[in-house]
Every structure is written in structure tokens, then in C-alpha cells.
């Protein structure tokens, strides 16, 4: 990864590795692109921490756009907030965990774990790289929470603090209880196998009767933790489902466990035989293994975040022209607040300043800021771009336009009522079938020999124990989740796979889902641009970070840069600069003083004027993703398709042209309209899949049977949903859906396989022939062959559908 100095003649910032274009600050023979980066370096150098730069090249994040307001952490002085954030507090020390999104390399870990060198108040700090979290133990007499956060922010690692960050420990990456149950089952199973082996090979005769009894009693002792600890979650789940008058997968499992255990006790203590304790241990071990496999997926993705996670913790309140930082929970209707550049608006409010420039990308997925005038209502979730604005609160943060969605009833209920997992359906039938076979066998034999009747009754229950049945689902679905995850499609849990397979109606959100800001269409309308004008424009827009500038920059393509002077960016208006004495202005109509009256309604317009002369304007329209038309066509054969959009309908014609007639269009949909739309589809008995992004789709995502949140950055933002899909692979939706369907068939086939084993076992059992050896061979054999079958077949089908490649280990 070494960069040769010859190939890279441009000067790179020692801290962040970006080119030092406008500014080149030098200290200690090192170059820095901005004051922020230099400051971080100075702090580190002062504290002997330059090792930071040796772990990785250019480890830092660019500090150019850092918010340098000093009082913005004032709310951390508030005791209530401190109590919410701290994991632990004693007289001597406090513990706190922060989520720091900037953590990205080894240097980050190194620096954050050496905080103690910068400030002696820090006792210890530990990084969890995958979760991007750091846990810090500090002496609150020497450093306050506020100072600690400021310190982190100074060195470029500002923690992201939000209201839902309460209690640090609850989301472990796996279920510790399940692991201990598995460990206990494994321990007991292994030892029971050892004690049972002599029985299988009739070696106990050699050892003498004393050993035989001892081995059996040891087996009983070892089986106790398995039955009473490892299996406990199965009893609970089975009991819950019986209480609701349903039979789920766990009911036959519990029946089998009880039959095995009680019958073995009877065998060992009354008849003096060996019992089936080793099979019992093996059964639980394999079952729990399957459960763990299914559970161990994307634990560090959060699926259930609500609006609170996205809103800021504190806001600046104006109290008779005095600024005061207060926690958001203390905000009241009528309060006057100050919102600075790039801050989120916490509650629905009315604008008191002359104008504002609000970016609702957080809400709608559309990233172009919307201009707002004095007295207009600004909804919570918008982000101000430009000068600070003053607002007065209209509704408390928990009752805004967006947050109303969360009070909708669909957020209250768990939504698994409609579709019953396949395994539960089968296990219902299965349980009744087994029970009736057992009773028939019992009545048949009871005419001849009562003890044989009891034996065949329990043998049926034991051998029919659905270990293979119970394992086919977790292993198939677990493997499917893994394959989906490789394809950047992350499901909340395994039951989503089964729901996906039954979907018949797909609803798409337009903005951010089918269209993408990156595929915007740009046209220049007006005089034709000369190469030189293009060059000038390119140098102009490349200095601005506004999304529209980025698009124009992209549109201009690869032209040379010109030297321009007096560059100025006016937030919410445009950019201007001087080129050989001529003033170039690019921006809003008012800013450029344009006299053109374009008739276009949709899209964004950026006007260009040189020395007061109109040259024309850029017309920018959000573009469809390249893969969208193809995907819609593929899906159109099998599914009913709908499209919802919050925008006006003027793009309908062009969309219909590109996407075809299969889609049902609906424009001007508010977030609650979308929710209602899904609800009415559900009421018609459709199985709905909603594909959307942004908080405005949150209600619809929740109401649909399966909600997929599309996001450009998987770990960053997603509303509550059943699945998260990386925007770059949206074209794979048809493949994902058909794979989910194929999975259902695999599960069905593995059921058949396990039924075949059951028939062999049952035919022996009803005749009363079942011996411990047969049981010990048959049970693991059936389980393992089912697991092998499902794993191989899911991988094979995924390969055929192009979801995984052969050479991927």
C-alpha cells in the first residue's frame, strides 16, 4: 500500500490524506490541509501520541467541516442526561460507552485506547471495532463528561450521542444464555456418550454389573442439567404456544424430550436397562447448535430504531437573547430556539428568520435543500443549511408531523399474525399424527401385553421426535440469511425469509429507491457552453460541497480547471467567482438576477450568469437507477406492482415510459397516506412487500408484511424495517425473492427426508423393537443428513441464481 512519492506529486495532508489545495499549513515538515487537521496533530504531538500515524497511512478524518462551536456540549452538564448516558457511576469513577462512527482503522483503535496519555482523568478505554464503540472509564473528579466529549471531538472522534443511547450493555452480539445452554448440553452429551459406549459393545459384561449401574446413574445425573437447564427455552415456547391453542415446532420437541427422559428413568431405575440418555443429550446439543447458527447473523445492524435515535440530544434555546443549551426533553411549545448550519430541527416549528434552506433528505430521501420563507412551518427532521435560523416551537418533539407516525397503531403490534411459518403448520399435523400412531400402537399391544404396549407407546414418541424436522428449518434459513448477507441484503431474522417467499404484491417508494440522486439527469438549456466556460464552471463547482454543485461537476465531465479568484459560496443562494475581471454567478434565479422564465415545474434549476448576462440554466432531474426498468419488468411477470411517491405527478409520463405499464402509480402521498395504502392492500388479503427509504416510509415499511429499507450506507441510517438492502444491489431483488421461494421448497424436501427416517424408526417402534443402539444411530444420522442436505442445496441454488460465486471459499 506504499504510495511512491514520484507518482504522487501533489501535497497530501499528513492527517487525513486529502490534497492540500487551498491551504497548506506546515509544521514539523508536515503538510496539513486545514486548521482542524493541524490542531489534531498538535494535540497528539504534544502528548507523544504520534505513533497514531504509524499504524496506518493517513488515519485521520478530514476536519474542514468540523463544527467548532464551543458550547454545543453544554447539555452534558445536565444531571438527567448524564444519568442516561453513564453505564456506571461510583464515588471514584464513571463508565460511559460512546458510538463513534469515525472509527475505521487500526490507528483509531490505538489512539482511543491511549486516551490516558492525553488526559490523566481517563482511567481506561477500550474499543469495539465492529460496533464502532468505545467504552471509557474515567475519574469524574478530574474530567467531566462534557470535557471528555470535547476532548474526543478535538482529536477528531466526536461521539454520536442520541436519546435512545440508554443502558450500554443490552445489545450483545449474541445470546449469552443460548451459548451457556449449548455448552452445558455439549459437555453432558460428550460424557454421556463415553459412559454409553460400553453398553453398545456389550463391554459392560466384561467390566461387571457394578460398572453398568454406575454408568447408568452417571448418565442420569448428567442428563439433569440438559433437561432442566439446556432445554428450558423449549418448554417456555411450547407452553406459550399451547396456551394460545396453537402447536408450534417446539411442542413435538418437548413431547420427545419428556418421553425420552421419563422412559429412560423408568428403564434405568425399574428395569435396570441402559435408557436413552445419550440420545437425549445429543438431541439437545444439535437442536441448540441449529438455533445458534440461525441467530448468529447481523447483530450489529439495528432494525428497530425509532425517530428518537436520529434526533439531537440538546438544542440552543434563546432566553431574552441569552443562549442556553437545554436537553430536548425540556423543550416546550412556544420556546424560541436557534438552529445552526447542519443542525437538525427537533420539533415542528415556525420560522422567525427571513429565510431558511431546509434539507429533508433525512425524511424524504431527496437531498436538495428546500428554501423556506419567514412564517412557514418547518417539520421536525429537516436540517438547516446556511446561516443560523431562529424558530419557535409549535409542537413538542414527541407530537410532530413525523413522530405522529410512530403513534400509529401499526407500531404497537407485532406483525407476525398473518403468516404462519411453514414449520409450525407441519409440526401441528406432525404432532397429531405421532400421537395417534402412538395411541393406536398402545391399544393394539395392550390386548396382548401391557408392558409391551407402554414400551411401543413411548418408543413411538421417542423415535418420532422431530429432531430432523426441527433442524431443517434453522439450518436452511440460517444459511439463507448468510447468503443474503453476502449479497448485501440483511434480514432481521429468519422468519422474514418465509414471508418473502409468500409475497405477491410489491410497493416501491420512488425517491431514493427507484430513483437515485447519483443518477440525476442534467441538461443545460441556453447558449451552448464553450470549453472555456465549462472549465471555469468546473473550477467553480468543484470548490462547493452543495449537492447540486456535485451534480453539475459530474455533468461537466473531464475538463481542465481554470484559475479563478474571489470564490465565494453563499449558502442557499449560489456560488460566485472572478475570472479575468468577469464575475461568474451560478445559483438561484434571484442570486444571478436571471430574466429567464423556464416553464419546467419539476426538478431543480441552477442559473448561470457572467457579468450580469444570462447564459442559461442547468435543469436537474432526479434520475432512475439504471437497473430499475429491467427489475420492474422482471418482477412484473409474477407480482402486482405499485409505486408511491411523495412528489407531484409531473414525472408520471416519463416514468411510465421507462418503467412500463405494469406499475400502478400514486403521487402526492404523505407518510400516513403511504401507511393507509399498505393497510388497504393488506385488508384485501394481499401479501405485501414494501421497498422504501427514509423516515417518511417508516409507517408503510412497518405496516407491510415485509418492509425492506434501501440505504446507501448500511451501517448508517435505516428506519424500522424487516430487512436492509444496500442500494447498489437493488437490481438483485428478483433474485432474492426467487431464492426465498426456492428455500421453501428446500424446507419441504428436507421435511420429506426426515419423514422417511421417521417411517423407518416408527415401523420399528410400533413393534416394540427399539433398542438404545438403534436410537443412538438413527437420531444423529437423520439430523446430520438433513443438515447436510439443506446446506448443500441452498448453496447450490444460490450459485445457480448468481447470488454466490463458486470461488468464494
Amino acid at each position: 500500500m506504499k504510495v511512491s512519492p514520484i507518482a504522487n506529486s501533489e501535497v497530501k495532508c499528513y492527517h487525513c490524506g486529502e490534497e492540500c489545495k487551498e491551504l497548506n499549513l506546515k509544521i514539523d515538515n508536515k503538510n496539513f490541509c486545514c486548521q482542524g487537521c493541524k490542531l489534531v496533530y498538535e494535540v497528539l504531538a504534544e502528548n507523544d501520541l504520534c505513533n497514531y500515524y504509524e499504524q496506518e497511512e493517513f488515519p485521520g478524518e478530514n476536519q474542514k467541516f468540523k463544527n467548532s462551536r464551543t458550547n454545543r456540549f453544554d447539555y452534558l452538564k445536565d444531571d438527567g442526561i448524564q444519568n442516561q448516558l453513564l453505564d456506571f457511576k461510583s464515588d471514584l469513577e464513571s463508565h460511559v460507552s460512546f458510538y463513534i462512527p469515525q472509527i475505521h482503522c487500526a490507528s483509531c483503535i490505538w489512539l482511543l485506547e491511549n486516551l490516558i496519555q492525553i488526559h490523566s482523568g481517563v482511567i481506561n478505554s477500550r474499543v469495539d471495532f465492529i460496533k464502532k464503540k468505545v467504552q471509557i472509564k474515567f475519574d469524574h473528579h478530574k474530567i467531566t463528561l462534557k470535557e471528555l466529549v470535547s476532548l474526543l471531538s478535538t482529536i477528531g472522534y466526536e461521539p454520536k450521542i442520541s436519546l435512545s443511547d440508554k443502558g450500554g450493555e443490552q445489545n450483545l452480539s449474541y445470546d449469552r444464555k443460548l451459548i451457556s445452554q449449548l455448552a452445558v448440553a455439549g459437555f453432558c452429551f460428550g460424557n454421556m456418550m463415553l459412559f454409553s459406549l460400553p453398553e453398545y459393545f456389550s463391554e459392560t459384561q466384561l467390566l461387571g454389573e457394578g460398572f453398568r449401574d454406575l454408568f447408568n446413574y452417571l448418565n442420569v445425573i448428567l442428563s439433569l442439567p440438559v433437561v432442566f437447564y439446556s432445554a428450558s427455552s423449549y418448554y417456555q415456547s411450547a407452553w406459550n404456544s399451547v396456551k394460545q391453542r396453537k402447536i408450534n415446532m417446539d411442542v413435538p420437541i418437548v413431547l420427545g424430550i419428556l418421553a425420552l427422559f421419563l422412559y429412560s428413568l423408568w428403564e434405568i431405575f425399574i428395569s435396570g436397562n441402559a435408557g436413552f440418555m445419550d440420545s437425549l443429550g445429543g438431541l439437545l446439543f444439535f437442536l441448540l447448535l441449529g438455533k445458534l447458527y440461525q441467530q448468529k447473523t447481523f447483530a450489529n445492524l439495528e432494525f428497530d430504531r425509532d425517530y428518537k435515535s436520529y434526533f439531537p440530544m440538546a438544542v440552543t434555546k434563546l432566553n431574552k437573547d441569552k443562549e442556553e443549551v437545554i436537553p430536548i426533553s425540556k423543550l416546550e411549545v412556544g420556546d424560541v430556539i436557534l438552529i445552526r448550519n447542519e443542525e437538525l430541527i427537533p420539533a415542528d416549528s415556525i420560522l422567525l428568520s427571513e429565510n431558511a434552506n431546509i434539507d429533508y433528505s433525512f425524511v424524504t430521501g431527496e437531498e436538495i435543500p428546500v428554501p423556506k420563507q419567514k412564517r412557514e412551518v418547518i417539520y421536525a427532521g429537516g436540517r438547516q443549511f446556511g446561516n443560523p435560523i431562529i424558530l419557535t416551537i409549535q409542537k413538542s418533539p414527541s407530537q410532530g408531523y413525523l413522530t405522529d407516525l410512530w403513534n400509529s397503531e401499526c407500531f404497537e403490534k407485532e406483525k407476525n399474525g398473518l403468516l404462519e411459518p411453514l414449520a409450525n403448520k407441519v409440526s401441528g399435523i406432525f404432532t397429531w399424527a405421532v400421537l395417534s400412531i402412538a395411541f393406536i400402537a398402545f391399544t393394539f399391544w395392550s390386548f396382548q401385553d401391557l408392558s409391551l404396549a407402554v414400551k411401543s407407546f413411548t418408543s413411538v414418541l421417542i423415535v418420532a421426535c422431530p429432531c430432523a424436522l426441527a433442524m431443517s428449518t434453522p439450518f436452511t434459513l440460517g444459511n439463507t440469511l448468510r447468503i443474503f448477507g453476502k449479497g448485501k441484503f440483511y434480514l432481521k431474522n429468519a422468519s422474514v425469509v418465509e414471508k418473502l417467499a409468500q409475497v405477491d404484491t410489491i410497493v416501491f417508494d420512488k425517491t431514493g429507491t427507484l430513483t437515485s440522486p447519483a443518477h440525476a439527469q442534467i441538461e443545460f438549456i441556453g447558449e451552448e457552453l464553450t470549453e472555456q466556460t465549462k472549465s471555469i464552471l468546473k473550477s467553480l463547482v468543484s470548490k462547493s460541497s452543495h449537492p447540486l454543485s456535485n451534480r453539475i461537476n459530474y455533468f461537466l465531465g473531464d475538463v481542465n480547471l481554470e484559475k479563478i479568484s474571489e470564490f465565494k459560496e453563499l449558502k442557499g443562494e449560489g456560488v460566485q467567482a472572478n475570472f479575468h475581471g468577469e464575475q461568474i454567478k451560478l445559483g438561484s434565479k434571484e442570486f444571478t438576477g436571471s430574466h429567464l422564465f423556464p416553464t419546467i415545474e419539476d426538478g431543480n434549476l441552477v442559473f448561470l450568469s457572467i457579468s450580469g448576462q444570462d447564459l442559461g440554466y442547468f435543469y436537474i432531474k432526479s434520475g432512475l437507477r439504471e437497473s430499475a426498468p429491467n427489475m420492474i419488468q422482471q418482477l412484473g411477470h409474477e407480482y402486482e406492482l405499485h409505486l408511491l411517491s411523495g412528489d407531484h405527478s409531473h414525472e408520471q409520463v416519463s416514468l411510465r415510459e421507462k418503467l412500463g405499464q405494469v406499475l400502478k402509480f400514486n403521487f402526492n402521498q404523505s407518510p400516513s397516506d403511504k401507511l393507509q395504502y399498505l393497510k388497504s392492500l393488506n385488508n384485501k388479503g394481499k401479501h405485501t412487500l414494501m421497498v422504501g427509504d427514509g423516515l417518511n416510509d417508516a409507517g408503510a415499511l412497518k405496516e407491510s408484511e415485509v418492509g425492506i429499507a434501501v440505504t446507501e450506507q448500511v451501517s448508517h441510517f435505516s428506519p424500522a424495517s424487516d430487512a436492509i438492502l444496500d442500494a447498489s444491489v437493488i437490481y438483485k431483488i428478483p433474485a432474492f425473492l426467487s431464492f426465498a421461494k426456492a428455500n421453501r421448497n428446500i424446507i419441504k424436501m428436507s421435511f420429506l427426508l426426515s419423514f422417511a427416517y421417521n417411517i423407518i424408526g416408527l415401523s420399528l417402534a410400533v413393534q416394540g423393537f427399539l433398542s438404545p443402539v438403534i436410537c443412538a444411530i438413527l437420531m444423529p444420522l437423520s439430523s446430520i443428513s438433513v443438515v447436510v442436505f439443506t446446506t448443500i442445496s441452498t448453496n447450490f441454488i444460490a450459485m445457480r441464481k448468481g447470488l454466490i460465486k463458486l470461488n468464494q471459499n
Binding site: 504534544e46 499504524q55 474499543v127 450483545l172 452480539s173 459437555f187 460398572f211 452417571l218
Partner: protein, 62 residues
């Protein structure tokens, strides 16, 4: 053959000890984060020899 009684006892105690150690490790959070330690172990131990005003040049720059 009575030695087998002893062996069984020893083997159970041994296996039980391993189970106990496993639980202890889990409680200490040993399985919570299985990535960061692999990076952490590669850090050099603290070197205080660098002078404040002239830190050594990082290798990656050469």
C-alpha cells in the same frame, strides 16, 4: 479394574473445570468482540523515546 472409578472421577472433574473456565471466559466478555483484539495485539508497546519537537518520520511515507 477399580482404577476406572478413579479415572471416571478425574475425567469428570477435568471436563467440569473446562466447562467452568468456558463460562468464566464468557462472563468476562471474551466472545463479545472477536475482531478488535486481533488488531490490538499488533500495536507496539509504548515507546517514550520520541522527542516532542521532532517525532520520527513514519515509515509509510518513504
Amino acid at each position: 479394574m477399580e482404577v476406572i472409578f478413579l479415572l471416571i472421577g478425574v475425567s469428570l472433574i477435568l471436563a467440569g473445570t473446562f466447562l467452568y473456565l468456558f463460562f468464566k471466559a464468557m462472563k468476562d466478555g471474551q466472545f463479545d468482540d472477536d475482531y478488535t483484539p486481533s488488531v490490538r495485539i499488533l500495536f507496539n508497546s509504548q515507546q517514550k523515546k520520541e522527542k516532542k519537537d521532532q517525532p520520527t518520520k513514519p515509515k509509510s511515507y518513504e
